[in-house]
Amino acid sequence: MTTLRLTSSSIPALGIPVSVVAILLLALFWFALTNVFGVPEYVFPSMSSVAAALLEAALSGRLLDDTSISLLRLLLGAVIGIVTGIAFGFLVGLSRTARIAVEPLINAFSGIAGIAWIPLALAWFGTGLAMSTFVIWNGMFFVVFANTILGVSRVPPAYAQAIFTLGGDRREVLRSVIFPGALPDILTGVRVGLAFAWRSLIAAELMGSPMGLGQWVNEAATYQRTDRILAGCMTIAVLGVLLETLLVSWVAHRTVVRWGTVAVAEERKAL
């Protein structure tokens, strides 16, 4: 599994975060592509027309409507995915037999791309909220589940044994040892799962859900409005980053990073 990467470093002399520098460079490249080398609008829209499309969508209220419906769908599916993933991960992770029994199944299911379920999900649930919830849950669940199992199995046994000799019962050990001990892996699962869930949502919206950012992009495609397509994609990207920051980084900095149970990218020395 991937390790948790957090926060960026900055260029000491200028005090500008390197991540900002990277974004500026990409913007410069985009500007050069359309305004210097003259790539036509229908191939790749210029920054100004994308900004105009975004502004238009914002003023008409479309941007807010689509964003809220997408976020609602995402949060519903993601919360169910996280809760069920952690709960089942604990059930399986705490038993060696269950772990061995379930492992091949998890690998099989997580191998299927989330999008592959969409046609089936459309048949089962139609185009309503149940469909998107299922698709997002599916994108989220397996990765949270698998990482929770990993996290639970990696908590050093001596931690739990020590609490038993302090008079703690199984519940106390679950609460004060296993859960915080598994948290670094659980957060990795949520982080990766969120990316999967976000992609599944957009795919579900592209393939049939009414409204939502994916549907906005889909409609723009029908009218060949490349400016709107790109505006939609950028909105999706920014929202993805915001969600990750709010749901994962924020929690991580107050827990696993604070405790020193996870290595922070900026503190890890290069080899």
Partner: protein, 271 residues
Amino acid sequence: MIQLNERKPILQAINLRHEYEARGEKIVALQDVNLTINAGDFVTVVGPSGCGKSTLAKIFAGLGTPTSGEALYAGKPINGPSAERGMVFQELAVLPWRTVVGNIGHGLEIAGVPKAEREQRVAELVQLIGLQGFEKKYPSELSGGMRQRVAVARTWATRPPVILMDEPFGAVDAITRLTLQEELIRLARATKQTVVFITHSVEEAVFLGDYIVAMSSRPGRVLEIVPVPDMGINRTWEKMIRDPRIEAIVSRVFELVRGRAVDSSSERQHA
């Protein structure tokens, strides 16, 4: 002279045997172990690695079950861990997600001690182990020696009738270890605490123990119980290394654990 400290057996091992399998091979970790530890004793158990001394501590803690024989606490068979027998682990088992005070107060929290009383007792212990100013730090922010003090204080906080310590100072540097040993001796004497201290260091065993249980390896058996003369207030490292009686005990225990003791080899010849 009136014996103030009643010699009451608190821990007993009766014909203890422990076997386990490793790579298809049967290993006898403990064989014919008979031992009685009285309340208020500071016992050290010393032997080469693989002599089953950690296994013995785990059985007394209730974290392991012997293959045959019995382990008794206060005359009753031990089945499972309990707050009556606290254990300090070799692998620094303080919880990384709890602060210094959070870890030290954990046992009291489990026992349901009211917050105000808990805070007061934790503050006393923090003072005693010299960690003032570090109360709100997490273990990752402490040195190895500090972490070990927290581990000892955590078990000490609830004043369990028995404290088992499994090579608790193995991971700290030699100078810190001396300080920790002297602090432990002072604390144990002052509180008449029953301590079973496991170590592979003969010097440590002689320095700390009222008597030393010398063990052989594979199978782990008790070779001899060597008493240490009462040093009273002279139990400091400097005084002890200059005492000829102590010197004699150290070489005696060395002979025993290295399997070169005179009487055991003569026994073999007679047999």
